[in-house]
């Protein structure tokens, strides 16, 4: 294992993506809408494809606008189906996001079938290629890093400005309504920044592991604290820690294990985003263990 400049940038970019994801993720987790992040991550695909078709380029604001619109449409459609088709929330979400994702997939294959938005890239993500161009240009940092940083700042601003309203509408939407904290507006605001985060994150970690970055850190943190602010801070800490450990393991241990297990010719590095998620899962296991031990100890002493 050798640590190079590229590795530093991979970890830095992953860390920024993690920060951007955890901020809306905490509120999604707490308001029991974890699967919403999964839905939005899928639903942004048609927006991305349309944005791409309109401008013919990959890195334009049109892509972001398209994706945000598609994400909000997914949230709206879910609400609508929930109210008007008599199915529960989960099924409504399932219908709306699979429909949007199928539209996006079909459009991508039929109309924009070139290498720029390869769906397997959208789904898997590849941090290694996302930061690759730093080696050949004089840029200060890879573009993916800048984008993730901007998204983090936007998310942070949104949460700092509307902290009180968000807290209200997360824990008690009915009360929020009576004190005019605008729970509806907060909900769609949260969906907007989630969609934005998904677009920024998908090329780095893939649209499905965005969900891991959003939901796993707050889920882990919820085993250690019950208060909102410590929960956010702890989630950020876990996310950052796991990016570092995840990448380290991906370029060393995981490849060795795979080589041993499947008798491959040589050890290789594995996908970093996947590695980070596996580390987060391990943290979750530790969290569960910690909780059960501490409750048992408490029962013992009392």
């Amino acid at each position: 294992m050798t640590w190079e400049l590229l590795d530093t940038w991979i970890v830095a970019t992953a860390a920024m993506v993690a920060v951007a994801c955890v901020l809306p993720g905490c509120f999604l987790y707490l308001s029991r809408q974890s699967m919403m992040s999964h839905g939005i991550a899928h639903a942004v695909l048609p927006g991305i494809v349309i944005g791409h078709l309109c401008t013919g380029q990959v890195e334009t604001p049109a892509l972001f606008i398209g994706a945000i619109v598609a994400g909000v449409i997914c949230a709206l459609l879910t609400r609508f189906l929930q109210n008007h088709s008599g199915v529960e929330e989960g099924a409504a979400l399932g219908i709306s996001f699979t429909f949007l994702f199928a539209v996006g997939l079909a459009m991508q294959r039929l109309l924009a079938d070139d290498v720029h938005i390869e769906p397997s890239h959208v789904l898997m993500g590849n941090l290694e290629t996302a930061v690759f161009n730093i080696l050949f240009t004089d840029d200060l940092a890879p573009e993916a890093f800048w984008r993730a940083s901007v998204a983090s700042v936007i998310n942070l601003l949104f949460i700092v400005i509307f902290f009180k309203e968000l807290t209200f509408s997360t824990f008690d939407p009915n009360h929020a309504d009576t004190v005019e904290a605008r729970p509806r507006l907060m909900y769609y605001g949260l969906m907007t920044i989630s969609a934005l985060t998904c677009v920024v994150a998908f090329e780095a970690v893939g649209s499905i592991l965005v969900v891991a970055m959003m939901i796993l850190p707050p889920a882990i943190a919820s085993f250690f604290t019950k208060r909102l602010k410590p929960l956010i801070v702890l989630s950020l800490a876990f996310a950052l820690l796991s990016t570092l450990i995840g990448h380290l393991l991906s370029i060393s241990l995981f490849g060795d294990i795979a080589q041993l297990l499947f008798r491959l010719p040589r050890s290789t590095s594995t996908n970093t985003a996947g590695g980070i998620t596996l580390v987060l899962c391990a943290f979750l296991g530790l969290g569960i263990l910690w909780k059960s031990i501490s409750t048992r100890l408490q029962n013992h002493t009392s």
Binding site: M35, H38, I215, F262, C281
Partner: protein, 452 residues
């Protein structure tokens, strides 16, 4: 498209026929089993299962390369891998919900991403290992109808038959399990066992269908057809039948489209076709469709407006002639002959002229009114009877509200309008019995509150 092409689609060659049969069976099985997932509010579990099969597929690929080097991918090892990991993901979700503080949504998301991440890691190993024949793995993500082999089609057929048989035989038990779990337990039903069987069947269908629809979208086949069926009916049996039909139709159309249109991924085509059926049902569905609900609402609105119109006419006549109706029929001739000015009668209602003329026209058409001039009209016998009936119901309801529900004088009018839709003549008769003593001689009571 010429005729021969059309016949080619409608009467496909044998191997294609088998594929279409398999696709249909997939739709039927998923549609029926999906109903129970929907009833148990576990639709998104199929999403988790679908995604969680990725490490099974990738690991199975690596394993088959290890066991049978050089022979390409062994489809049964891949499927077995997918089955194992799909089953594991369900167990993880259930364990988390039972033993940790994580709620259903978080447990689903955690299990989904955890297994998917393992799959991503294994895929990256495959990509870099340079093993041959790894290209076909993409079908598992997006689906490919043409990749279906005969064995798979027959397995799908078998599962569809098994699912149909099982649901028919265990309909009562499954019904109890879905709608009243507590009752199912007290009746000594092997409820844990039933649940496991249901989940296992779902898993098998999902995994056999994996290559056709792709692991990202397979869950939609379990969610959309049942949701479509719910828009048409409330009965369990009909829901199952419609759901199976929608699943089969959507899968078949999707498979046809994807084989006709180049580059069209089968999974996307099937889900789009099924979604189309869903959105159509959302529009015109009989039970909860938007259109039928609007029509129903419109009909109620219309009937209420007609009643209000007739009541206004009746009030006007009563005030004008200073009559107390001791026996409506005696006066009916006279009253029915009296014409009234439409505009004045409806002055108290803040209706637009369009609404006024629309309701007038509707009443004329039903033969309740006759026009006596350009601006005036008169009630017919039939119209008078209905007006008397309406006024009676209305006033009795008002009396009831005033005396028994303790509604204030000034509010009674708006209350009665709110419940007008449900006060039928039968209820009015019951109310009449309630006030019998006071109304001994009057057919229609007086307006119990002051008319503004």
């Amino acid at each position: 498209m010429d005729i021969s092409h059309l016949t080619q689609i409608l009467l496909p060659a044998h191997n294609l026929r088998v594929i279409y049969l398999g696709v249909c069976s997939l739709g039927i099985a998923a549609g029926m089993l999906g109903c129970f997932l929907l009833f148990r509010k576990r639709s998104l579990l199929s999403d988790t299962v679908g995604h969680a099969t990725l490490p099974g597929v990738a690991g199975g690929f690596l394993l088959s390369a290890l066991l049978y080097p050089g022979e390409g991918k062994n489809i049964f090892i891949l499927m077995l891998g997918a089955l194992v990991f799909g089953w594991l993901s369900v167990q993880v979700v259930q364990w988390m919900m039972r033993h940790t503080r994580l709620r259903q949504d978080a447990a689903l998301a955690v299990s989904l991403t955890g297994f998917y991440a393992l799959g991503v890691v294994l895929l990256s190993v495959i990509q870099k290992s340079g093993l041959p024949d790894s290209s076909g793995l993409e079908y598992y993500l997006y689906g490919m109808v043409a990749s279906m082999v005969q064995t798979e089609a027959w397995i799908l057929c078998g599962t569809a038959v098994a699912a149909t048989l099982l649901t028919t035989l265990l309909l009562k038990e499954l019904n109890a399990l879905c709608f009243d779990e507590g009752y199912a337990q007290t009746q000594g039903l092997p409820h844990r066992w039933l649940d496991e069987t249901l989940m296992t069947l779902c898993l098998i269908v999902a995994i056999v269908g994996l290559q056709t629809v792709g692991l990202l979208l397979i869950m939609a086949l379990f969610i959309i057809p049942p949701a479509t069926a719910r828009l048409w009916t409330n009965s369990l049996k009909k829901t199952l039948a419609i759901s199976a039909l929608v699943g089969a139709l959507g899968s078949l159309i999707g498979a046809l489209v994807s084989s006709e249109v180049e580059h069209m991924p089968a999974g996307a085509a099937i889900i789009l076709a099924t979604s189309l059926l869903f959105f159509l049902s959302l529009l015109i569905g009989r039970r909860k469709g938007l259109l039928s609900r609007h029509l129903e609402y419109y009909a109620i609105e219309r009937r209420l407006a007609e009643n209000q119109y007739l009541r206004a006419v009746f009030d006007g006549l009563e005030a004008q002639q200073q009559v107390r109706l001791f026996c409506g029929l005696k006066f009916s001739r006279k009253l029915a002959m009296t014409d009234f000015l439409i505009r004045d009668t409806l002055a108290k209602r803040n209706w637009t002229t369009t609404k006024q003329s629309a309701i007038t026209r509707s009443l004329l058409k039903q033969g309740l009114l006759t026009l006596t001039g350009t601006e005036s009209a008169a009630l017919t016998d039939k119209g008078l009877n209905r007006a008397i009936e309406t006024a009676k119901t209305h006033r009795l309801t008002e009396m009831y509200l005033l005396e028994h529900a303790e509604v204030a004088q000034k509010n009674v009018h708006q209350y009665v309008e709110r419940i007008e839709e449900i006060t039928t003549p039968e209820i009015a008769n019951d109310l009449r019995d309630l006030f019998e003593e006071r109304l001994q001689q009057e057919l229609i009571p007086q307006e119990p509150h002051e008319v503004k």
